[in-house]
Amino acid sequence: MPSAIVVRDLQKFYDGVPALHGISFEVAEGEVFGLLGPNGAGKTTTVEILEGYRQRDGGDATVLGHDPGRSPRALRERIGVVLQQSDLSPNLTVRETHLMFAGYYARPRDVDEVVELVGLGEKRDARVKTLSGGQKRRLDLGVALVGDPDLVFLDEPTTGFDPAARRSAWEMILSLRSLGKTILLTTHYLDEAQRLADRVAVIRAGQIVGLGTPSELIGEAGKTEIRYREGDRQVVMETEDPTRALHELTSAALAAGRELDHLEVRRPTLEDVYLELVGDEEEDRAG
């Protein structure tokens, strides 16, 4: 499958301090790719270089066959951007806002269709200032989709959402994938990445420390955890061969006539993998 995004040895410095230490990854067409990492790891810097907002200081980047550093109009015709924080004119209506943005594109989608798609059909004639926070985020998405982009950038699309709003945002993002859009998603929510992304890159301090499908990442970490209580002592064993370990453990206990209190067998989640990958940094922050 051809690549929508190719990044090779991408570097960025702020006032001489490296923010990206030469990261590389590719995003295939039609793929949902998640950039995962703690705040300040370099996610937004990476995305802003690919969106054409910032110039890279080293390495190569190609987005839909274009150099994002030049941000040519032909590229801007084909991308949709949902920013973390960006207002829209409070006094235009939902439909007018879509129409205004549709006018910038050579081949926009039907505006009413987009308004329906993002679930704002009933609010089409409401002024933007009367929308709730969740509705405003849907408007952001609608405005990003109105140019019928091939590639959509979503920068922390559900930060600050309540659980119900997150779930409906996820469904909307999954429906974008079913339309064949390529999506580059940044997030610091593990469940979000696990749920939405075909592949994930974990960034820490400007470097990619893990790259693959969520299950590959989990597989690499690979250790299954077995826990039980022995008297008032908590026993935790990690094993790469859980069947054998469990069998040995339970036969020994049966033979001795003991009960394994609170026996638990746990596969690592993406969260465990993530914490392992970025752990030091999170601890730095906590300290």
Binding site: Y14, V81, D87, L88, L92, E96, G103
Partner: protein
Amino acid sequence: MKLLLHQLGYEQRVFWRSREAAVFIFVFPLLLYALLGSVYSDKIDGRPAEDVLLAGLIGYGAANTAFAGLAIILVGRRESGVLKRLRATPLPPAAYIVAVLLSTLVIFALQTVALVALGRLAFGASVPENPLGLMGAVVLGVACFAGLGVGAAALIRSAEGVSAVVNVIVLPMAFLSGSFGPTRDFPAFLQAIADVLPLTYYLDLVNGVYLAGDSLFADLSALAIVLGWGAAGLLVALRYFGWMPRER
């Protein structure tokens, strides 16, 4: 061109629907004219007060609309991410800027018409002696003060502070330049300050076309000073204006 008109249409819609902007930018000079016109009834520098004040408030309107108004709009849009979002669309930046400037011109032209109408109806002010020259002066006012407005927008960092900063500039400038009444009796040091302000020269030009029926090109040095200020503002903007919020 089609994009330009598209954007101009939405700029106008956004402006007139925002009550704060419409009142502060469009109505305020009219209000001041109504107040000052009621206070001064005699002659100012040998001319009817209503005529001198009308020219003065057209000048104040140019500074208020194109300088203060534009700076407030641009800084607000930059800091709230509106400009950043636009930058990722195919809309060419030049088309956007020109549409915003044309929108400012439309607002100031309508304001000038409203000021003249108010003067005629309420105070019996004269009609402009050189209407074509007045139209030219309206365009010139936007060219000068919008240049300064984008320059100021490039230098002002915060959306909270922009209103205060531009008003601290515009109101004293209008006062010193004679927008609100005669400056003849001002102390010398204030007149010396007025002598470098663009509004002083802009008012000379408006007075010339409005009251004396002069050509806009009658006083070339005043014209050059006004355009020079606008160009200086534009140069600052070209050097320092950015589309991204200044959060870093």
